[in-house]
Point group: C2
Chain length 208, copies 2
Protein backbone atom coordinates (compact mmCIF):
# COMPACT_ATOMS: atom_id res chain seq x y z
CA UNK A 1 0.00 0.00 0.00
CA UNK A 2 1.34 3.41 -1.03
CA UNK A 3 0.70 6.61 0.92
CA UNK A 4 0.67 9.95 -0.86
CA UNK A 5 0.94 13.14 1.18
CA UNK A 6 -1.06 15.92 -0.45
CA UNK A 7 -2.64 19.33 0.06
CA UNK A 8 -5.53 20.77 -1.97
CA UNK A 9 -4.59 23.14 -4.78
CA UNK A 10 -0.97 21.99 -4.98
CA UNK A 11 0.97 20.08 -7.62
CA UNK A 12 0.31 16.90 -5.59
CA UNK A 13 -2.82 16.52 -7.75
CA UNK A 14 -0.61 15.31 -10.62
CA UNK A 15 0.60 12.36 -8.54
CA UNK A 16 -2.96 11.59 -7.40
CA UNK A 17 -4.08 11.47 -11.03
CA UNK A 18 -1.21 9.12 -11.90
CA UNK A 19 -2.08 6.77 -9.03
CA UNK A 20 -5.76 6.78 -10.01
CA UNK A 21 -4.99 6.17 -13.69
CA UNK A 22 -2.66 3.32 -12.68
CA UNK A 23 -5.30 1.70 -10.49
CA UNK A 24 -2.69 1.68 -7.73
CA UNK A 25 -3.62 0.74 -4.16
CA UNK A 26 -2.94 3.89 -2.14
CA UNK A 27 -4.24 6.21 0.52
CA UNK A 28 -4.02 9.99 0.47
CA UNK A 29 -3.02 11.88 3.61
CA UNK A 30 -4.07 15.52 3.48
CA UNK A 31 -1.80 18.00 5.25
CA UNK A 32 -3.21 21.16 6.82
CA UNK A 33 -1.13 23.85 5.12
CA UNK A 34 -3.04 26.64 6.90
CA UNK A 35 -1.80 25.22 10.21
CA UNK A 36 1.74 24.80 8.83
CA UNK A 37 1.60 21.02 9.18
CA UNK A 38 4.04 20.63 6.25
CA UNK A 39 6.72 22.33 8.35
CA UNK A 40 5.99 20.37 11.53
CA UNK A 41 8.31 17.83 13.10
CA UNK A 42 6.15 14.83 12.23
CA UNK A 43 6.04 15.63 8.52
CA UNK A 44 9.69 16.64 8.43
CA UNK A 45 10.47 13.02 9.22
CA UNK A 46 8.53 12.05 6.08
CA UNK A 47 9.90 14.82 3.87
CA UNK A 48 12.64 17.10 5.17
CA UNK A 49 11.85 19.51 2.34
CA UNK A 50 8.55 20.36 4.07
CA UNK A 51 6.61 20.16 0.81
CA UNK A 52 4.11 17.97 -0.98
CA UNK A 53 3.86 15.58 -2.68
CA UNK A 54 5.71 12.79 -0.93
CA UNK A 55 5.05 9.15 -1.72
CA UNK A 56 5.73 6.59 1.00
CA UNK A 57 6.56 3.17 -0.46
CA UNK A 58 7.69 -0.05 1.19
CA UNK A 59 11.24 0.86 0.09
CA UNK A 60 11.17 4.43 1.41
CA UNK A 61 9.98 7.94 0.60
CA UNK A 62 9.98 9.54 -2.83
CA UNK A 63 9.60 13.26 -3.50
CA UNK A 64 9.55 15.56 -6.57
CA UNK A 65 6.63 15.25 -8.97
CA UNK A 66 8.62 14.17 -12.07
CA UNK A 67 10.23 11.35 -10.07
CA UNK A 68 6.94 10.19 -8.53
CA UNK A 69 5.20 10.24 -11.91
CA UNK A 70 7.93 8.14 -13.55
CA UNK A 71 7.89 5.77 -10.57
CA UNK A 72 4.13 5.20 -10.79
CA UNK A 73 4.41 4.57 -14.53
CA UNK A 74 7.24 2.07 -13.99
CA UNK A 75 5.71 0.36 -10.96
CA UNK A 76 2.38 -0.20 -12.76
CA UNK A 77 3.48 -0.85 -16.34
CA UNK A 78 0.19 -2.44 -17.38
CA UNK A 79 -1.46 0.98 -17.16
CA UNK A 80 0.73 2.22 -20.02
CA UNK A 81 1.36 5.65 -18.49
CA UNK A 82 4.81 6.17 -20.02
CA UNK A 83 6.76 4.88 -23.05
CA UNK A 84 8.96 2.66 -20.91
CA UNK A 85 10.54 0.71 -23.74
CA UNK A 86 11.69 3.72 -25.75
CA UNK A 87 14.49 5.77 -24.14
CA UNK A 88 13.99 8.73 -26.50
CA UNK A 89 10.23 8.94 -25.99
CA UNK A 90 10.70 8.45 -22.25
CA UNK A 91 13.21 11.31 -22.26
CA UNK A 92 10.71 13.54 -24.08
CA UNK A 93 8.23 12.77 -21.30
CA UNK A 94 10.85 13.54 -18.67
CA UNK A 95 11.80 16.78 -20.43
CA UNK A 96 8.19 17.91 -20.48
CA UNK A 97 7.70 17.14 -16.79
CA UNK A 98 11.01 18.74 -15.88
CA UNK A 99 10.03 21.94 -17.68
CA UNK A 100 6.72 22.08 -15.81
CA UNK A 101 8.56 21.53 -12.53
CA UNK A 102 11.54 23.83 -12.93
CA UNK A 103 10.10 26.63 -15.10
CA UNK A 104 6.28 26.71 -15.13
CA UNK A 105 5.75 25.84 -11.47
CA UNK A 106 8.58 28.17 -10.47
CA UNK A 107 7.05 31.04 -12.45
CA UNK A 108 3.73 30.44 -10.68
CA UNK A 109 5.37 30.23 -7.26
CA UNK A 110 6.58 33.83 -7.52
CA UNK A 111 2.99 34.92 -6.84
CA UNK A 112 2.18 33.04 -3.59
CA UNK A 113 5.73 32.20 -2.48
CA UNK A 114 7.99 35.03 -3.54
CA UNK A 115 9.41 35.16 -0.02
CA UNK A 116 11.43 32.09 -0.89
CA UNK A 117 13.68 34.31 -3.01
CA UNK A 118 13.41 37.88 -1.68
CA UNK A 119 12.59 39.70 1.55
CA UNK A 120 11.25 43.20 0.80
CA UNK A 121 7.54 43.78 0.31
CA UNK A 122 8.28 45.85 -2.78
CA UNK A 123 10.14 42.89 -4.30
CA UNK A 124 7.30 40.50 -3.59
CA UNK A 125 4.84 42.91 -5.21
CA UNK A 126 7.14 43.26 -8.22
CA UNK A 127 7.33 39.47 -8.57
CA UNK A 128 3.55 39.15 -8.36
CA UNK A 129 3.08 41.74 -11.10
CA UNK A 130 5.31 39.77 -13.45
CA UNK A 131 3.62 36.38 -13.01
CA UNK A 132 0.98 36.88 -15.75
CA UNK A 133 3.82 37.59 -18.20
CA UNK A 134 6.05 34.67 -17.18
CA UNK A 135 3.21 32.15 -16.92
CA UNK A 136 1.85 33.22 -20.29
CA UNK A 137 5.28 32.88 -21.91
CA UNK A 138 6.01 29.46 -20.46
CA UNK A 139 2.54 28.09 -21.22
CA UNK A 140 2.71 29.61 -24.71
CA UNK A 141 5.79 27.45 -25.30
CA UNK A 142 3.84 24.39 -24.14
CA UNK A 143 0.90 25.33 -26.38
CA UNK A 144 3.03 25.96 -29.48
CA UNK A 145 5.98 23.59 -29.18
CA UNK A 146 5.44 20.75 -26.72
CA UNK A 147 1.78 19.71 -26.48
CA UNK A 148 1.62 17.39 -29.49
CA UNK A 149 -2.10 16.67 -29.16
CA UNK A 150 -4.49 15.27 -28.41
CA UNK A 151 -2.27 14.32 -25.46
CA UNK A 152 1.10 15.73 -24.46
CA UNK A 153 3.02 12.92 -26.16
CA UNK A 154 0.61 12.69 -29.11
CA UNK A 155 -1.83 9.80 -29.44
CA UNK A 156 -0.54 8.25 -26.26
CA UNK A 157 -1.91 9.37 -22.87
CA UNK A 158 0.77 9.58 -20.16
CA UNK A 159 1.55 10.89 -16.68
CA UNK A 160 2.51 14.20 -18.32
CA UNK A 161 -1.15 14.89 -19.07
CA UNK A 162 -2.13 14.93 -15.41
CA UNK A 163 0.79 17.22 -14.64
CA UNK A 164 -0.14 19.70 -17.37
CA UNK A 165 -3.76 19.61 -16.19
CA UNK A 166 -2.67 20.33 -12.61
CA UNK A 167 -0.60 23.39 -13.45
CA UNK A 168 -3.12 24.50 -16.08
CA UNK A 169 -5.71 24.91 -13.32
CA UNK A 170 -3.63 27.79 -11.95
CA UNK A 171 -3.72 29.91 -15.10
CA UNK A 172 -6.71 32.12 -14.33
CA UNK A 173 -5.44 32.78 -10.81
CA UNK A 174 -2.09 33.72 -12.31
CA UNK A 175 -3.67 36.31 -14.57
CA UNK A 176 -3.17 34.44 -17.83
CA UNK A 177 -5.61 35.10 -20.69
CA UNK A 178 -6.54 31.48 -21.18
CA UNK A 179 -8.56 32.16 -24.33
CA UNK A 180 -5.24 32.61 -26.11
CA UNK A 181 -4.19 29.07 -25.18
CA UNK A 182 -6.95 27.09 -26.92
CA UNK A 183 -5.07 23.80 -27.17
CA UNK A 184 -4.30 23.80 -23.46
CA UNK A 185 -7.93 24.68 -22.69
CA UNK A 186 -9.18 21.83 -24.87
CA UNK A 187 -6.75 19.46 -23.16
CA UNK A 188 -7.95 20.66 -19.77
CA UNK A 189 -11.60 20.00 -20.64
CA UNK A 190 -10.83 16.47 -21.84
CA UNK A 191 -8.81 15.79 -18.71
CA UNK A 192 -11.57 17.06 -16.40
CA UNK A 193 -13.96 14.54 -17.95
CA UNK A 194 -11.79 11.51 -17.13
CA UNK A 195 -13.10 9.42 -14.22
CA UNK A 196 -9.60 9.01 -12.78
CA UNK A 197 -9.15 12.78 -12.68
CA UNK A 198 -12.48 13.18 -10.91
CA UNK A 199 -11.49 10.58 -8.34
CA UNK A 200 -8.13 12.30 -7.84
CA UNK A 201 -9.84 15.63 -7.23
CA UNK A 202 -12.08 14.04 -4.62
CA UNK A 203 -9.05 12.42 -2.95
CA UNK A 204 -7.28 15.80 -2.94
CA UNK A 205 -10.11 17.16 -0.80
CA UNK A 206 -10.00 14.20 1.56
CA UNK A 207 -13.07 12.61 0.02
CA UNK A 208 -11.25 9.68 -1.56
Amino acid sequence: MLTLYVAPGTCALASLIALEEAGAPYRAVKLDFAAGEQRGEAYRRVNPKGRVPALATERGILTETPAILAYVAQAFPAAGLAPLDDPFAFAELQAFNSYLCSTVHVNHAHRPRGSRWADEETSLADMKRKVPETMTASMRLVEDDYLKGPWVLGERYSVADGYLFTLGNWLEGDGVEVGRLPRILDHRARMAARPAVQRARAAEQGKG
Copy 2:
Protein backbone atom coordinates in the same frame (compact mmCIF):
# COMPACT_ATOMS: atom_id res chain seq x y z
CA MET B 1 26.53 10.93 -33.47
CA LEU B 2 25.02 13.09 -30.74
CA THR B 3 25.44 16.87 -30.61
CA LEU B 4 25.31 18.67 -27.28
CA TYR B 5 24.83 22.44 -27.24
CA VAL B 6 26.70 23.97 -24.31
CA ALA B 7 28.05 27.18 -22.83
CA PRO B 8 30.89 27.43 -20.30
CA GLY B 9 29.87 27.79 -16.67
CA THR B 10 26.32 26.52 -17.20
CA CYS B 11 24.54 23.37 -16.08
CA ALA B 12 25.34 21.87 -19.50
CA LEU B 13 28.52 20.55 -17.86
CA ALA B 14 26.44 17.84 -16.17
CA SER B 15 25.37 16.45 -19.55
CA LEU B 16 28.95 16.66 -20.86
CA ILE B 17 30.14 14.62 -17.88
CA ALA B 18 27.43 12.01 -18.49
CA LEU B 19 28.38 11.70 -22.17
CA GLU B 20 32.06 11.36 -21.27
CA GLU B 21 31.39 8.79 -18.56
CA ALA B 22 29.23 6.83 -21.00
CA GLY B 23 31.91 6.84 -23.67
CA ALA B 24 29.26 8.20 -26.03
CA PRO B 25 30.18 9.43 -29.51
CA TYR B 26 29.29 13.14 -29.47
CA ARG B 27 30.41 16.58 -30.40
CA ALA B 28 29.96 19.70 -28.29
CA VAL B 29 28.81 22.95 -29.90
CA LYS B 30 29.65 25.97 -27.77
CA LEU B 31 27.21 28.88 -27.90
CA ASP B 32 28.40 32.46 -27.44
CA PHE B 33 26.20 33.63 -24.58
CA ALA B 34 27.91 37.04 -24.50
CA ALA B 35 26.69 37.62 -28.07
CA GLY B 36 23.21 36.30 -27.20
CA GLU B 37 23.56 33.36 -29.57
CA GLN B 38 21.21 31.28 -27.40
CA ARG B 39 18.40 33.69 -28.25
CA GLY B 40 19.18 33.87 -31.97
CA GLU B 41 16.97 32.48 -34.72
CA ALA B 42 19.31 29.63 -35.60
CA TYR B 43 19.46 28.26 -32.08
CA ARG B 44 15.76 28.84 -31.49
CA ARG B 45 15.18 26.21 -34.16
CA VAL B 46 17.22 23.78 -32.06
CA ASN B 47 15.74 24.79 -28.70
CA PRO B 48 12.85 27.25 -28.58
CA LYS B 49 13.55 27.75 -24.87
CA GLY B 50 16.75 29.60 -25.79
CA ARG B 51 18.77 27.75 -23.16
CA VAL B 52 21.43 25.08 -22.82
CA PRO B 53 21.84 22.17 -22.72
CA ALA B 54 20.12 20.70 -25.75
CA LEU B 55 21.01 17.27 -27.09
CA ALA B 56 20.43 16.59 -30.77
CA THR B 57 19.84 12.90 -31.44
CA GLU B 58 18.86 11.06 -34.62
CA ARG B 59 15.28 11.00 -33.26
CA GLY B 60 15.12 14.70 -32.38
CA ILE B 61 16.12 17.25 -29.78
CA LEU B 62 16.08 16.69 -26.02
CA THR B 63 16.24 19.45 -23.41
CA GLU B 64 16.22 19.68 -19.60
CA THR B 65 19.19 18.27 -17.71
CA PRO B 66 17.32 15.55 -15.74
CA ALA B 67 15.85 14.21 -19.00
CA ILE B 68 19.17 14.28 -20.86
CA LEU B 69 20.97 12.57 -17.98
CA ALA B 70 18.40 9.76 -17.82
CA TYR B 71 18.53 9.42 -21.61
CA VAL B 72 22.30 9.04 -21.68
CA ALA B 73 22.12 6.45 -18.90
CA GLN B 74 19.43 4.50 -20.77
CA ALA B 75 21.02 4.83 -24.21
CA PHE B 76 24.41 3.58 -22.97
CA PRO B 77 23.41 1.00 -20.35
CA ALA B 78 26.80 -0.71 -20.30
CA ALA B 79 28.25 2.36 -18.57
CA GLY B 80 26.04 1.69 -15.53
CA LEU B 81 25.20 5.35 -14.94
CA ALA B 82 21.73 4.73 -13.43
CA PRO B 83 19.93 1.87 -11.65
CA LEU B 84 17.82 1.07 -14.70
CA ASP B 85 16.41 -2.23 -13.43
CA ASP B 86 15.12 -0.87 -10.11
CA PRO B 87 12.18 1.57 -10.39
CA PHE B 88 12.54 2.76 -6.78
CA ALA B 89 16.28 3.44 -7.02
CA PHE B 90 15.77 5.06 -10.43
CA ALA B 91 13.10 7.29 -8.89
CA GLU B 92 15.50 8.28 -6.10
CA LEU B 93 17.96 9.32 -8.81
CA GLN B 94 15.25 11.26 -10.63
CA ALA B 95 14.14 12.93 -7.38
CA PHE B 96 17.69 14.06 -6.66
CA ASN B 97 18.16 15.47 -10.15
CA SER B 98 14.74 17.12 -10.09
CA TYR B 99 15.57 18.85 -6.81
CA LEU B 100 18.83 20.18 -8.24
CA CYS B 101 16.97 21.43 -11.32
CA SER B 102 13.86 22.96 -9.76
CA THR B 103 15.18 24.16 -6.38
CA VAL B 104 18.98 24.45 -6.25
CA HIS B 105 19.51 25.77 -9.78
CA VAL B 106 16.52 28.11 -9.38
CA ASN B 107 17.92 29.47 -6.12
CA HIS B 108 21.23 30.14 -7.87
CA ALA B 109 19.55 31.77 -10.88
CA HIS B 110 18.16 34.54 -8.70
CA ARG B 111 21.67 36.02 -8.61
CA PRO B 112 22.53 36.31 -12.34
CA ARG B 113 19.02 36.00 -13.78
CA GLY B 114 16.60 37.65 -11.38
CA SER B 115 15.13 39.61 -14.28
CA ARG B 116 13.30 36.45 -15.27
CA TRP B 117 10.96 37.02 -12.32
CA ALA B 118 11.01 40.74 -11.46
CA ASP B 119 11.67 44.07 -13.15
CA GLU B 120 12.82 46.65 -10.58
CA GLU B 121 16.51 47.10 -9.78
CA THR B 122 15.69 47.07 -6.08
CA SER B 123 14.01 43.66 -6.47
CA LEU B 124 16.98 42.23 -8.33
CA ALA B 125 19.33 43.49 -5.62
CA ASP B 126 17.07 41.99 -2.95
CA MET B 127 17.10 38.62 -4.74
CA LYS B 128 20.88 38.70 -5.03
CA ARG B 129 21.24 39.37 -1.30
CA LYS B 130 19.17 36.32 -0.46
CA VAL B 131 21.06 33.82 -2.67
CA PRO B 132 23.70 32.89 -0.05
CA GLU B 133 20.87 31.96 2.34
CA THR B 134 18.79 29.95 -0.15
CA MET B 135 21.77 28.17 -1.71
CA THR B 136 23.13 27.29 1.72
CA ALA B 137 19.75 25.93 2.84
CA SER B 138 19.19 23.81 -0.28
CA MET B 139 22.74 22.46 -0.35
CA ARG B 140 22.55 21.80 3.41
CA LEU B 141 19.60 19.50 2.66
CA VAL B 142 21.71 17.70 0.04
CA GLU B 143 24.63 17.43 2.49
CA ASP B 144 22.52 16.12 5.39
CA ASP B 145 19.71 14.14 3.77
CA TYR B 146 20.38 13.15 0.16
CA LEU B 147 24.09 12.64 -0.54
CA LYS B 148 24.44 9.07 0.70
CA GLY B 149 28.19 8.86 0.11
CA PRO B 150 30.64 8.22 -1.26
CA TRP B 151 28.43 8.94 -4.29
CA VAL B 152 24.97 10.47 -4.41
CA LEU B 153 23.23 7.07 -4.56
CA GLY B 154 25.72 5.41 -2.18
CA GLU B 155 28.32 2.95 -3.45
CA ARG B 156 27.07 3.34 -7.00
CA TYR B 157 28.31 6.21 -9.18
CA SER B 158 25.57 7.73 -11.38
CA VAL B 159 24.66 10.69 -13.58
CA ALA B 160 23.54 12.50 -10.41
CA ASP B 161 27.16 12.86 -9.33
CA GLY B 162 28.07 14.96 -12.33
CA TYR B 163 25.02 17.13 -11.78
CA LEU B 164 25.85 17.75 -8.12
CA PHE B 165 29.44 18.53 -9.09
CA THR B 166 28.25 21.04 -11.71
CA LEU B 167 26.03 23.01 -9.35
CA GLY B 168 28.51 22.63 -6.52
CA ASN B 169 31.03 24.63 -8.54
CA TRP B 170 28.77 27.68 -8.14
CA LEU B 171 28.77 27.71 -4.33
CA GLU B 172 31.64 30.13 -3.71
CA GLY B 173 30.26 32.55 -6.30
CA ASP B 174 26.89 32.33 -4.60
CA GLY B 175 28.36 33.33 -1.25
CA VAL B 176 28.02 29.94 0.44
CA GLU B 177 30.48 29.08 3.22
CA VAL B 178 31.62 25.83 1.65
CA GLY B 179 33.65 24.79 4.70
CA ARG B 180 30.33 23.98 6.37
CA LEU B 181 29.47 21.49 3.63
CA PRO B 182 32.38 19.03 4.06
CA ARG B 183 30.70 16.05 2.41
CA ILE B 184 29.86 18.05 -0.71
CA LEU B 185 33.43 19.42 -0.79
CA ASP B 186 34.87 15.91 -0.52
CA HIS B 187 32.55 14.73 -3.31
CA ARG B 188 33.62 17.67 -5.45
CA ALA B 189 37.31 16.86 -5.02
CA ARG B 190 36.79 13.22 -5.97
CA MET B 191 34.75 14.26 -9.00
CA ALA B 192 37.38 16.74 -10.17
CA ALA B 193 39.95 13.93 -10.21
CA ARG B 194 37.94 11.73 -12.61
CA PRO B 195 39.32 11.66 -16.16
CA ALA B 196 35.82 11.91 -17.66
CA VAL B 197 35.16 15.08 -15.67
CA GLN B 198 38.44 16.59 -16.86
CA ARG B 199 37.56 15.76 -20.48
CA ALA B 200 34.09 17.29 -20.00
CA ARG B 201 35.60 20.49 -18.64
CA ALA B 202 37.88 20.73 -21.66
CA ALA B 203 34.92 20.14 -24.00
CA GLU B 204 32.96 22.85 -22.18
CA GLN B 205 35.66 25.32 -23.17
CA GLY B 206 35.66 24.15 -26.79
CA LYS B 207 38.85 22.14 -26.30
CA GLY B 208 37.23 18.72 -26.62
